[in-house]
């Protein structure tokens, strides 16, 4: 009998082109996503070396980080942003890489459009010069972020040199309580495992709570795997997955669909597979989660208080908490729900999908954004936007005083004009709370889309269950 294998092992082993003596693997890459920020130097490298893109049809490019969300005229004011987007356009043309350009309805955040188009499939290896590539693991794929030199390597050879990752399993039991979402689940998890909890590992999410999630919820969970230090999160494909993938523009059709499903059903981990690290968590008692600091592990329940540096044992952690609180302008011991906000941001590859917008609209309905707050809703793609408009969500949001924007990364990293002013505080559905991430000296509090909308209509962080 062969050795029991994990989902990750199965996909990994299937994709080995070569294994060097020292164990370094040459891994075949099925799908390569490209955006404008991390690719120019890679294409430049190819050009300088006289190389071509090895398999353009396995590559998909989209501008997302720099695009304005105010209008879709095609012209970008900011010169550097414009040059970066134009460089992508030119490179795609020169190298024959498919591109969803700014005015294409299929344009959107790179991690939203892959799944949407059926470019992301179970059992595949997927990379992108972007750490949140982990998102695609929700389909039972090995998906991880790479640097620009590696982007160049994949463009030139369709392979990547990688040392195998270790297997870690996180089993989440229980049902998600009322008011809680996949976002709250992953925040609660990151608090437990810490920002380096998954270093060197692929995290397989298992258990009832994960199986019960929609594909969109699973993507939210896998998306933030990188905040827990792992490059790659993965969830076994099941009926929910197949239902989502079926009929997408690039997903297999007809007889191929049947054989694909048959194959995908063999992927889940074998019963006795061995994991290097195991964590279990029961979420039946969690409440909505928020962050108070500038590290992903700075998570607290909305019902809690801002911690005191002395609550932590490690000296350096105490220092970093002190610094965080200073930066965030918060006093230890204050109620989280007393924290007032200036902006709310609903969007990003974590929470920019249709279910997220529905959740925000659900809270917005019949309420009004308070005067002192600016609230942005940025759909993750042109298609998400279209769908939301078909459902009338844009009207509900606009009526409540939210801004309804064009798709892109927007205030997730504030490379375009959507940013926090110094000192401003934001209830944000994004995935990075580092200093300055959403604008110089801006302050970020992570929340779910419903919680962000609730903060927008009350002016402070608030337990969505209290509305």
């Amino acid at each position: 009998m062969s050795k029991p294998r994990t989902l990750f092992d199965k996909i990994w082993e299937t994709h080995l082109v070569d294994v060097q003596e020292d164990g370094t693997c040459l891994l075949y890459i099925d799908r390569h996503l490209v955006h404008e920020v991390t690719s120019p130097q890679a294409f430049e490298g190819l050009k300088n070396a006289g190389r071509t893109v090895y398999r353009p049809e396995a590559t998909l490019a989209v501008p997302d980080h720099n695009v304005p969300t105010t209008e879709r005229g095609g012209y970008i004011e900011n010169e550097e942003s414009r040059i970066q987007v134009e460089t992508l356009q030119k490179n795609c043309k020169d190298f024959g890489v498919p591109l969803y350009d700014v005015n294409d309805i299929r344009q959107g955040i790179v991690h939203i459009i892959g799944p949407e188009q059926g470019f992301t499939l179970p059992g595949t290896t997927i990379v992108c010069g972007d750490s949140h590539t982990a998102t695609h693991g929700a389909f039972g794929a090995i998906a991880f972020g790479i640097g620009t030199s590696e982007v160049e390597h994949v463009l030139a050879t369709q392979t990547l040199l990688q040392a195998p990752l270790k297997n870690m399993r996180i089993t989440v039991d229980g049902g998600l309580p009322k008011g809680c979402t996949a976002k709250d689940l992953i925040l609660a998890l990151i608090k437990i495992i810490g920002t380096a909890g998954g270093t060197g590992c692929a995290i397989e999410y298992a258990g009832k709570a994960i199986r019960d999630l929609s594909m969109e919820g699973r993507m939210t969970v896998c998306n933030m795997t990188i905040e827990g230090g792992a490059r790659c999160g993965i969830i076994a494909p099941d009926e929910t997955t197949f239902e989502y993938v079926r009929g997408r523009p690039m997903s297999p059709k007809g007889a191929q669909w049947e054989s694909a499903i048959r194959y995908w059903r063999t992927l889940p981990s074998d019963a006795d597979a061995i994991y290097h690290k195991e964590v279990t968590l029961d979420i039946k008692d969690i409440v909505p989660q928020v962050t108070w600091g500038t590290s992903p592990e700075d998570v607290a329940p909305i019902t809690g208080t801002v911690p005191n540096p002395s609550d932590f044992e490690d000296k350096l952690k105490q220092e970093s908490v002190k610094e965080s609180l200073h930066y965030m302008g918060l006093a230890a011991g204050m109620q989280i729900s007393d924290i007032k906000i200036d902006k709310a941001f609903i969007g990003s590859c974590t929470n920019g999908r249709i279910e997220d917008i529905r959740a925000a609209a659900d809270i917005a309905k019949g309420r009004t954004v308070v005067d002192s707050v600016t609230a942005l809703v940025v759909p993750g793609s042109g298609l998400v936007k279209e769908q939301a408009e078909e459902e009338g969500l844009d009207k509900i949001l606009l009526e409540a005083g939210f801004e309804w924007r064009e798709p892109g990364c927007s205030m997730c990293l504030a490379m375009n004009d959507d940013k926090l002013q110094p000192g401003e505080r934001c209830a944000s559905t994004s995935n990075r709370n580092f200093k300055g991430r959403q604008g110089f000296n801006g302050r970020t509090h992570w929340v779910s889309p419903a919680m962000a909308a609730a903060a927008a209509v009350t002016g402070h962080l608030i337990d969505v269950r209290d509305l």
Binding site: V17, Q20, D22, L26, Y28, D30, R31, V37, T38, P40, Q41, E44, G45, A49, E57, A58, L60, N66, N78, E80, S81, I83, Q84, P98, F119, L121, S131, T133, F144, G145, I146, G147, S149, E150, H153, A156, T157, Q158, T159, L161, T195, A196, T199, G229, R231, M250, Q256, W257, Y263, L316, E319, S320, L413, A414, M415, R432, F434, K435, R437, F440
Partner: protein, 205 residues
Amino acid sequence: MESFTTLTGVAAPMNKINVDTDMIIPKQFLKTIKRAGLGKHLFDEMRYDRAGNEIVDFVLNKPAYRTAQILVAGDNFGCGSSREHAPWALLDFGIRCVISTSFADIFYNNCFKNGILPIAVSKLELDKLMEYAERGSNATLTIDLENQTISGPDGSEAIFEIDAFKKHCLLNGLDDIGLTMEKQNKIESYEKNMKHSQPWLNTAE
């Protein structure tokens, strides 16, 4: 890529955990389409005030460390994004080696592609090296990649671990795209197999 054999240089202490890629190179500098020139923006928001003046307390602004080639930092260095601008900025500033107890995976890999050596040491070792680096411009360390050692002028020596292939490439400054292209026939035979076993993967437009 420039090879890395031995390096003797000033070590700067950055006694901070979770130094993330947004700190190393803030996003406003990601708009470049070039690799070079990022050194002046390294640690931008910690290094300069809003008016663009140097913050005197910041370690790399202190006379003793302005030419540092080695950085000694707290746990989980380089966490956050995949931006290779982080190692590009370090390199452009002149840093060729970062020592910490642990590194974020993508950052770690990115270093090797750019001729930077990231060294993971034990907490105990790090504390010693940090104390050492805090001594100022006398804090020179010598890194010997071939023998995998870090030594101070007082003769003390620490040994570090490193993956053999990564070491080989760094020592010889090898371009791994070229190496992989030599395996073209293996890639082709893999693809032939895949066409047969998972034909639907060829259907992407």
